[in-house]
Point group: C2
Chain length 229, copies 2
């Protein structure tokens, strides 16, 4: 396994910013159940809870005036499978996964669910290796760019149409008008093109998607960008 | 607020086994939003994650061979609202709640949801007051009797009919026979009486409930007790 060596001679391998005293814990965290036992499912159970808690606390501290709803939606954004898989990719976790032959053949080391689960298992491995404070110290920097990129607490987790509507209503302006411009593709892959118009400021933008709703969301997102909201 | 005095003179109040250095944190944790700000909703957000994690780790350690599914179901049992409300009642949390006049009048201090939320908020208050290790030290004993009372990891969270069926199948015996004995009550409050019979060992027990399914579950539970499973 191509884990980095560690500057601390007592800790044989480092991963995710933590020097593991027990390299076996890291190996288990990176072992998918398809590769046999001991695999990472139990560690994933523990890591899932740790990630939730570490992220919850970071948001609680970072947003001292946010209401519970905003905190809950923000956490959901940060701990969803695709976000965790993105972090795992960023640290090259996929290349270090131990997979069974079936998963190897079907590209399991690139699959969001496998990456996210293994990342959670690594969090648990750090916690078991060195305790909660060490775990938090290692894990917080993984999430820092995602936390910094979150919209404001009252906006997070709301879709683009909702955010656009709230922005306009707060300024007592007319609501956006969405209209379907085009509907194409065949039954298995339909495509929709939608226009979104605002009258104050005057904005006309378009969005595309596999459903009318998705196209409207993309158009609303373009409108939000156009008005700098 | 009738919180206990603390043997540690530096920590003015104790609650749930923790001496609070910052009594304001405890007060906030016990204040429902109906009583105004600062109330306990943000603390509840943080406490919910802490409880999940502390319970997850306790189960992980206690059940070194349990699969992830059993751990997940056990945690769900321990952190569900009614379980948390039971812990809150056991420590007399209801009497210390700060509620608005409306909630006071309608018995808010006895309501499961309010009690469970406040308990989670108290967990967060301990964490913020003294750190994670102190929080875990205080919280684990609250759950110890519930953890001790859990069925085996592969049984937890499964309903009585499922457990009874699995017990019989594992011994290659005939499945139980359920029969409806009585159906009564009016449309708003129907009652069902069901019999459950096993042939090896010979067991005949009954169950009652507001639905046929509930009555069967109660009968299955009685059968499990009768066979000592």
């Amino acid at each position: 396994m191509a884990t980095q060596p560690c500057r601390n001679k007592e800790a044989p391998v480092a991963f995710g910013g933590h020097c593991f005293a027990d390299a076996g814990l890291l190996r288990q965290a990176l072992t998918h159940r398809s590769a046999g036992s001991p695999h990472n499912e139990r560690l994933e159970f523990l890591g899932d809870a740790l990630v939730s808690q570490i992220v919850a606390e970071a948001l609680y501290v970072q947003w001292p005036r946010a209401a519970e709803g905003g905190l809950t939606r923000a956490r959901a954004e940060l701990v969803r499978e695709s976000a965790l898989a993105g972090i795992a990719r960023h640290m090259g976790l996929g290349e270090q996964l131990v997979l069974g032959p079936g998963e190897l053949k079907t590209g399991g080391h690139r699959r969001d669910s496998i990456l996210a689960d293994a990342l959670e298992a690594v969090v648990a491995a750090i916690h078991l290796d060195a305790g909660f404070e060490a775990c938090r110290r290692a894990v917080l920097p993984w999430f820092a760019p995602l936390i910094a990129a979150l919209p404001a607490p009252d906006k997070v987790g709301k879709d683009a149409k909702t955010r656009l509507q709230e922005w306009l209503q707060a300024r007592q302006r007319n609501l956006p008008v969405y209209s379907l411009l085009e509907e194409g593709g065949d039954d298995h892959a339909r495509t929709f093109k939608v226009r979104c118009m605002l009258d104050e400021p005057v904005v006309t933008v378009q969005g595309e998607g596999g459903s009318r709703r998705a196209a409207e969301q993309q158009a609303a997102d373009a409108a939000l960008q156009a008005i700098g909201a």
